[in-house]
């Protein structure tokens, strides 16, 4: 088994699964990472008076008065303690939770890692990213039903290079903002799968989705995109439209989809400044996406105002 320095566990099979998932993601791990994965019969309880924020079925307690971040999972017993300023965490995972391994990785472990990456200057945002035929970086931002994945799959099928359909990380690079993609299959709901009109794909039964690697769609995967165009997406009607977003709307949207900025003082100013810099760096639009996008010869490019 390939080991990742800094990751350890009392359960070799769980460590191997986490290692494989992280290697497949191609995300650079935080410098100085110390991640202890403890498989236990009983997950210990921690006294924590802080207000709970719920993201899916992941509970997050962060900020004062304790400093460290406390993450727990509602699907099955699992919890994480992430240190305040260091990329160090101890995760306790019950055997029951291991029974839902794919979902455990994608929800509980991913949220835990989002806080670890934050301690290394990488800030998560719900976004898809791709590079068009002219070499311009695009970023699609919105919720899980806003057409990001379907559009990313369409762009991949048109030869755009694709980084991610949903899991992206902002990183300061000189005077610009780079966006790193977490490599995973582009996951389509039945409606998106039907619109794409491709056979094959990976059946993701627990998510009721079909996954495609960019290469299966005739594209190639790229880790880093420098966004020049940002599109805040939603799905509505029969016609795709795109209109410029005001600076206030841009910041509101970026904050909403990179909401970890609000959780703890650690790196909050850097994260906030990075969002503003991203807003300055790119031209920003609101888009309503509709099935006619699939008939447009240059896809999103045809709808730029």
């Amino acid at each position: 088994m390939t080991a990742i320095p800094g990751i350890s566990s009392n359960d070799p099979a769980f460590e191997a699964a986490v290692t494989e998932w992280l290697i497949e993601s191609r995300m650079p791990l935080p410098a100085g990472l110390l991640l202890r994965l403890e498989v236990v019969d009983t997950v210990s309880q921690l006294d924590d008076p802080r207000e709970v924020f719920l993201q899916g079925d992941v509970e997050i307690r962060a900020g004062e008065p304790l400093g460290w971040v406390h993450i727990s999972w509602r699907t099955a017993p699992a919890r994480a303690r992430i240190e305040e300023h260091r990329p160090e965490a101890v995760l306790q995972v019950s055997r029951e939770a291991l029974g839902e391994l794919d979902y455990l990785l994608r929800s509980f472990l991913l949220v835990s890692l989002i806080f670890l990456w934050k301690r290394d200057g990488r800030y998560h945002v719900h976004a898809g990213t791709a590079i068009d035929s002219r070499g311009r970086g695009w970023m699609l931002i919105g919720n899980s039903r806003s057409g990001k994945s379907t559009t990313t799959a369409l762009l991949a099928s048109r030869g755009w290079r694709v980084s991610t359909d949903d899991i992206a990380f902002l990183e300061a690079r000189d005077d610009r903002v780079d966006v790193l993609g977490f490599r995973s299959p582009i996951a389509l709901r039945p409606g998106g799968f039907q619109l794409l009109g491709r056979a094959g794909g990976i059946a993701m039964e627990s998510r009721a989705k079909t996954g495609f690697w960019p290469e299966e769609l005739g594209s190639s995967w790229i880790q880093t995109v420098v966004p020049e165009i940002i599109v805040f997406t939603s799905v509505a009607g029969d016609r795709t439209t795109m209109s410029p977003a005001s600076p206030a709307a841009v910041m509101r949207e970026l904050m909403q989809w990179s909401l970890w900025v609000m959780f703890e003082p650690t790196a909050a100013q850097e994260h906030l400044d990075l969002l503003a810099r991203l807003g300055r760096q790119a031209r920003c639009y609101h888009a309503t996406l509709a099935p006619d996008l699939f008939a447009a010869p240059r896809a999103l490019e045809d709808f730029l105002p």
Partner: protein, 90 residues
């Protein structure tokens, strides 16, 4: 008695995009935008400032009367004090 001094609350983070200020209140996990004048005042309030200091800041930045600057400052300061964005120093 000396004039009270004010400053930004420690839980506040501030940034700007094309003249729009974005204020993040970490303790309350909320954010809101402020206009350019509000941005100037909140930037100044990084350090302790009296009401008079803030009025002078607006007079330096904008061509307005002292009366207008004072009214704008009072209104903004009251809103910030009420929403725990700014605190009065002991």
């Amino acid at each position: 008695m000396s004039e009270p001094r004010y400053r930004r609350h420690a839980d506040i983070r501030l940034t700007s995009l094309e003249g729009e200020g974005v204020v993040l209140h970490l303790k309350e996990r909320r954010y809101f935008s402020v206009n350019e004048t509000g941005l100037v005042l909140l930037e100044a309030l990084k350090q302790p400032r009296s009401f008079g200091d803030l009025v002078a800041e607006l007079l330096r930045e904008y061509e307005v009367t002292e009366e207008t600057a004072a009214a704008t400052t009072r209104e903004f300061l009251d809103q910030c004090l009420a929403s725990a964005v700014v605190e009065t120093m002991e």
